[in-house]
Symmetry: C2
Subunit: 216 residues, 2 copies
DNA sequence: GCTAAATGTGAACACCCGGTCACATTTGCA
DNA sequence: TGCAAATGTGACCGGGTGTTCACATTTAGC
């Protein structure tokens, strides 16, 4: 392992630690360089500044390709769409619960709008659409993407919220019991999906929905 | 209107404009004072610094006491708990859609943890609990607070997300059509509540969003 | 061994931040 | 009118930011 490679790793690790400890707000060339025990000049020389460093780190993480594959593998088995949706929601829940740095980045994405956050969001959205397209269009009377959006978004919000707030509507966001309630509630809500969603028919797509197209 | 009163109002208005334009990240004594066309010293003299100014502004907004009263008034009428929940969700949706500054503050609350954000969150949580306690405990087999938490949190997340992202699971977050889908999905999910909570839930809320004047 | 490129350091730069100070102007009251 | 309090201004301070520069050290090749 070359000398340069070693310091690059040190910088990337320092970035991750900094994100975890202070959130994206506390991330900057000064803090990261100091934490890595290295001159900040090297961040410019090796990564071309903070945006480039963030990109390099995000590349290493590769959250979504990993996670999406997990769900995709489940597809090969004979699960019902409703079960697939539940599995996906579960993945999201655990994925965020076990990765503080990822939580911080997603909070940051809610506020910042730049090249990095845009790229992250785009990749996530395309992976998510590939998933939702497989369980959509199976029924007329339920807008599956919209319904799943509410539930997924709810889980995301409560996950992000748990850092700064202890309770939400009286439900604890920082205890296993609280998340058990929320998970059971998610399962219950999934019961609102139509029963025939499990046995898909060859019904043609209706015009209710606006045609999907990739954003930009 | 005294001279001091006039400059105090100018400062408060400048704060709100600044929040709306740059988000909480761009808010500081310098920016607000410059925008108000006033020396920043006055922020310290009249409001005892930025935290005090934020508190004063938040006091003027008083979102939740206002909004909570709206829902509370509905209680006097003969609505079912499920209809009350739907009305509350609708209030949240419209309240955020028509107040950009409020959206920014709530994004900020997701990241920052300090005296101001804590006070805001506490007041909101207590008001929300007072609401949820009225519709809870009506049935054994459904955890009403948890279920409503998922839905409310989902609406909040998508509302906040709409600023930085155009689509979520392929659902547009920036068009009335997209929000119509999400609202119908919310109504559908409310159907997962027990039957005795559900009757007439869809009846009173068929009209689209009513434009509300800015609250201040 | 010698030289040049690669690697790393620390200082300097201009800028913005929150906070405080002395001082000028205006108001209100005796 | 006169004088003190209220109101408002601009400069100043220490500290943090991102960015770049000149210089020191190490590595690699001839």
């Amino acid at each position: 392992m070359s000398r340069r490679e070693r310091t690059e790793r040190a910088i990337l690790q320092a970035l991750e630690d900094q994100i975890r400890e202070t959130g994206m707000a506390g991330v900057g060339v000064n803090s990261v360089a100091k934490r890595a025990g290295v001159s900040k000049e090297l961040i410019y020389r090796y990564f071309d500044g903070m945006p480039g460093l963030m990109m390099a780190w995000m590349q290493e993480q590769d959250f979504w390709t990993k996670r999406a594959n997990v769900v995709k593998n489940d597809e090969s088995s004979e699960q019902t769409p409703a079960a697939l949706i539940l599995a996906m929601l579960r993945e999201q829940m655990d994925g965020l619960a076990n990765n503080q740095a990822l939580c911080e980045v997603r909070r940051w994405e809610l506020i910042e709008r730049n090249e990095v956050s845009a790229k992250l969001a785009d990749r996530r959205e395309s992976a998510a659409r590939a998933f939702i397209d497989r369980v959509d269009g199976l029924t007329d009377d339920v807008d599956v993407p919209a319904v799943v959006s509410i539930m997924l978004a709810g889980i995301l919000y409560l996950m992000l919220r748990s850092k700064t707030e202890e309770y939400f509507l009286g439900v604890s966001l920082r205890t296993p019991e609280g998340w058990d309630r929320l998970w059971k509630a998610t399962q219950h809500l999934t019961g609102a999906l139509p029963p025939d969603l499990k046995e898909q028919s060859l019904r043609s797509l209706e015009t209710r929905r606006t045609p999907k197209e990739t954003d930009q």
